[in-house]
């Protein structure tokens, strides 16, 4: 009796495992596969085959996805907990303008011009987190308000002009420098990504954010300090977004009076695409990075194939819609099974 029961159980689990290997591996790595297909397509496509698969272009892609990836990683922290930070693009833009302004107008030393904007991003995160977790204001509208406010302040500070002169050349050298043949900024993103991955999978704090995102009331009753952790997630998010702004300055060598929204939308596309991969149905670090590279490669390929400037926002918008649709579908199917 016991023997047959054990035999049944083991055959049952074997069947489950083989199921697991075919369907779910395909599901987990669908985005990676799509990424490879897009890459191959632009490599053989006659309109882009001469420019797309070159080392120089790959470096441009990697360099430009670095800032998007960083904002995407920033967005991941509140999103995992079920909160939405719409101000991250504006925080990055503010940090970029602040860093350029500190160097150009105040002639601040390099370390001040780098650290102050990053800390400033964290402080905006403190405000966001306080409004959302302490005062229980709805996160979407609240952070949208903060984003509009910051964009207005940028306009006031720059008079709508780009800051081009007076940028410390050292920061620009860093932005264009190479390490092991790759843009140095890529390694910064890699370091932040590894830290974020460790955070989300191997610390009580990161695990608690997933719990809050799943059910905040239950999280509270297993001893998770929900308000405090949500607040902290906004602060971490602001710090990373501030860093992304400084990195953008180092890449571009100037600061435009923008609102950072295009950066935010590309980053959100990456985050939501990421939720369809690696751990389908969950926002996760590796998926987010894959999503960011996917968005960058596609936009680069489209541009090099001769598509106009509108191609990039159209692609980001479509990618965001498809990604949200897919992750909603995956989440729903997960809940039903």
């Amino acid at each position: 009796m016991t023997a047959t029961k054990v035999a049944q159980d083991s055959s049952g689990s074997l069947r489950r495992r083989s199921n697991f290997s075919v369907v779910s591996i395909l599901e987990n790595y669908a985005l990676v596969l799509l990424l490879a297909l897009v890459f191959v397509f632009f490599t053989v496509n006659p309109q882009s085959s001469s420019t797309f698969p070159t080392l120089a272009n790959l470096n441009v892609i990697l360099g430009s996805q670095a800032v998007v990836s960083l904002v995407a990683l920033a967005a991941l922290f509140p999103i995992v907990a079920g909160y939405f930070d719409f101000s991250l693009g504006a925080i990055a833009a503010t940090a970029q303008v602040a860093s350029a302004g500190l160097m150009a107008s105040a002639h601040a030393p390099l370390w001040v011009a780098v650290l102050v904007p990053i800390i400033g991003g964290g402080l905006i995160g403190v405000v966001n987190g306080a409004l959302v977790s302490r005062l229980q204001m709805p996160p979407f509208v609240t952070t949208l308000g903060v984003a509009i406010l910051l964009a207005g302040l940028i306009q006031w500070f720059t008079n709508g002009q780009s800051i081009v002169a007076g940028i410390n050349p050292a920061i620009m050298q860093f932005g264009s420098s190479r390490l092991l043949g790759l843009p140095t900024v890529v390694f910064v993103v890699l370091a932040v990504a590894v830290a974020a991955w460790y955070f989300f999978t191997h610390t009580p704090y990161g695990r608690s954010l997933y719990a809050i995102g799943s059910n905040a009331s239950s999280a509270k009753l297993v001893g998770i300090r929900v308000d405090r952790n949500v607040w902290t997630s906004f602060i971490i998010s602001g710090v990373i977004a501030g860093g992304a702004g400084v990195m953008q300055l180092s890449r571009q060598g100037s600061a435009t009076a923008g609102d950072g929204n295009s950066l935010l939308f590309a980053a959100l596309a990456a985050v939501f695409l990421g939720a369809t991969a690696i751990k389908p149905g969950f926002f996760n670090v590796v998926g987010t990075i894959v999503g960011a590279i996917f968005v960058s490669i596609s936009v680069s390929g489209l541009t090099l194939s001769g598509a106009s400037g509108w191609a990039s926002p159209v692609f980001n918008g479509l990618a965001l819609l498809v990604a949200v649709g897919l992750s909603t579908y995956l989440g729903r199917r997960k809940r039903r099974s």
């Binding site: 009580p204 998770i224 809940r335």
Partner: protein, 517 residues
């Protein structure tokens, strides 16, 4: 008293048959959810569907509702014949089946008449103008017929719980002559307190005496026994027994449902724990609705708190767990003053809580069983800076086995399990911490008898290992089965205290209800 304990049912006494199900089978993938199920519902009678979680009764209800088709079998409803393959939800409606589920689907902030109109349509006059007067009169007549003592303009929210269910029933039956309809009540009382559910069931029984056909699904056997004429018991997708016009005992039904006798549901014989270490002493506590509570709990003791919803029983538990901050009074935990600033401090001190509402306050529906267990131990699972999944999985597997959770493995989603198994996982989450004091708020609400027996057994093991347990419940048979001592909470005060020799279900019900509305 023709008792027919075979899978084939026979209508006794020539009562006309309202619903006749013959040989219905249903597979989900490789699992057989229903196999060759037959049952016969007599017109104007209350027919109870019983069985544990996963026994097939919910599948049968869904087949009847047309949610999914059965693989084979036929049924006739009133005079119509259906082949299970072609039956749809519109057929269910047309043939006169009306379903009222546990989630009543009422709009709490709208009035009774609006709830009726949203279902059946507003009566309109010239230019689509709503004829409020006509609606009011029609709904008023219905409320009188269904013994609901309320004005049609009353908001659903301000109705007493049993009346809300009655409104849902009256709404489901409003469009036709109710005697031609079959009312299916799916777990109507699982969220109601004892006296509310008896009020409801009395009204349901009176409707049946007037000719209403009712199919009743419930876990609460005593209630079922008080109201049903006929019983069909499911076990593992088959009809384990059919009792027509019978008055079986609770034990007979449990034995049919489980296929064996279950001892854990019986009192194990209360023990006095006067001599053992005092774990908790509450002195003159004012918190939420509580007005001066004094209570002491010793090691190895199971203390029950009997009270209605709103009596303060949940507030008492939440004050001990650091969720509510007391206004006045003191709590001593193992002899030390205890003022937790939040749940995390209560947990660190060795207190655990299984909350009342499993779905909203305890479970993480879209996370795995492994996650749901590990989230109770986040700090403890963080060893040398890492939380390896393999260790969590092996801990989860051991807990699944120890608490007899029926689930495919640690990675299965919490929401994929039945209510009873979900509750076992929540209990396991806390018992893995070997808490000094375990607080249980309605620990077996919506849980079938077999799982309930497993849960009681796990609670008894934990007190044998030195925990103290407080159980708050509106189910007096639960307190009778589990507790060494029961205190009765009424209007925020402890009004009675019964030791094990005096715990009696009827007495408890009387004490809880005394001078209540």
């Amino acid at each position: 008293m023709g008792q027919v304990k075979s899978p084939v049912s026979r209508a006794a006494g020539g009562t006309p048959v309202a619903l006749d199900i013959r040989g219905v089978s249903k597979h989900f993938g490789g699992t057989k959810a229903l196999s060759e199920v037959s049952m016969r519902v007599r017109k104007g009678k209350v027919h109870a569907l019983l069985g544990g979680n996963g026994s097939g009764k919910s599948t049968l209800i869904k087949v009847l509702a047309g949610v999914f088709p059965a693989d084979s079998g036929t049924f006739s409803i009133a005079t119509r014949e259906y082949d299970s393959g072609q039956y749809s939800s519109s057929d269910a409606q047309a043939s006169g089946l009306r379903f009222v589920h546990q989630d009543l689907g009422l709009f709490d902030d709208m009035s009774i008449e609006e709830n009726f109109a949203l279902d059946a349509g507003y009566p309109t006059g010239i230019g689509s103008k709503i004829r409020w007067k006509q609606l009011y009169n029609r709904v008023r007549d219905l409320l009188i017929a269904y013994e609901i003592d309320a004005d049609p303009k009353t908001k659903i929210r301000s109705l007493r719980p049993s009346d809300r269910t009655m409104v849902a029933i009256a709404r489901a039956l409003q469009d036709q002559d109710a005697d031609d309809l079959i009312l299916v009540l799916d777990e109507p009382t699982s969220t109601l307190a004892n006296h509310e559910s008896s009020l409801l069931l009395e009204k349901v029984r009176r409707r049946a005496d007037l000719g209403q056909t009712v199919i009743l699904v419930s876990h609460r056997l005593q209630e079922v026994l008080s109201v049903a004429h006929d019983f069909t018991v499911f076990r593992d997708g088959e009809v384990a027994g059919t009792l027509i016009d019978a008055a079986p005992s609770e034990d007979e039904l449990i034995e049919l449902m489980a296929g064996r006798t279950i001892g854990a549901l019986k009192p194990s014989g209360g023990v006095s724990h006067q001599a053992s270490e005092e774990i908790l002493r509450i002195h003159d506590l004012y918190s939420g609705p509580l007005k001066g509570i004094n209570l002491a709990v010793n090691r190895g003791e199971i203390v029950g708190i009997a009270g209605l919803v709103g009596s303060g029983r949940s507030s008492l538990i939440k004050s001990i767990f650091g969720v509510l901050r007391p206004r006045q009074g003191s709590i001593l935990f193992r002899g030390q003053p205890f003022e937790p600033s939040g749940v995390h401090q209560a947990m660190t001190a060795g207190v655990g809580l299984v909350p009342e509402d499993r779905g909203r306050e305890a479970g993480f529906a879209d996370l795995s069983v492994r996650d749901n267990l590990a989230l109770g131990q986040l700090r403890e699972n963080w060893v040398r800076g890492f939380m390896p999944r393999s260790r969590e999985s092996s801990i989860a597997r051991a807990l699944i086995e120890r608490f007899k959770v029926r689930v495919s493995g640690p990675e299965a989603l919490f929401s994929s399990m039945s209510g009873g198994n979900q509750q076992k996982v929540i209990l396991a989450r806390w018992l893995q911490r070997s808490p000094t004091l375990l607080l249980l708020d309605e620990p077996t609400q919506g849980v079938d008898v077999m799982s309930r027996a497993d849960i009681y057994a796990a609670i008894r093991v934990s007190v044998e290992n030195g925990s103290a347990v407080i159980v708050a419940s509106s189910d007096m048979s639960e307190l009778h089965a589990l507790c060494d001592r029961v205190v009765v909470v009424r209007n925020g005060q402890i009004t009675d205290e019964l030791d094990s020799s005096r715990i009696d279900i009827d007495l408890l019900n009387r004490l809880v209800l005394k001078d209540a509305s």
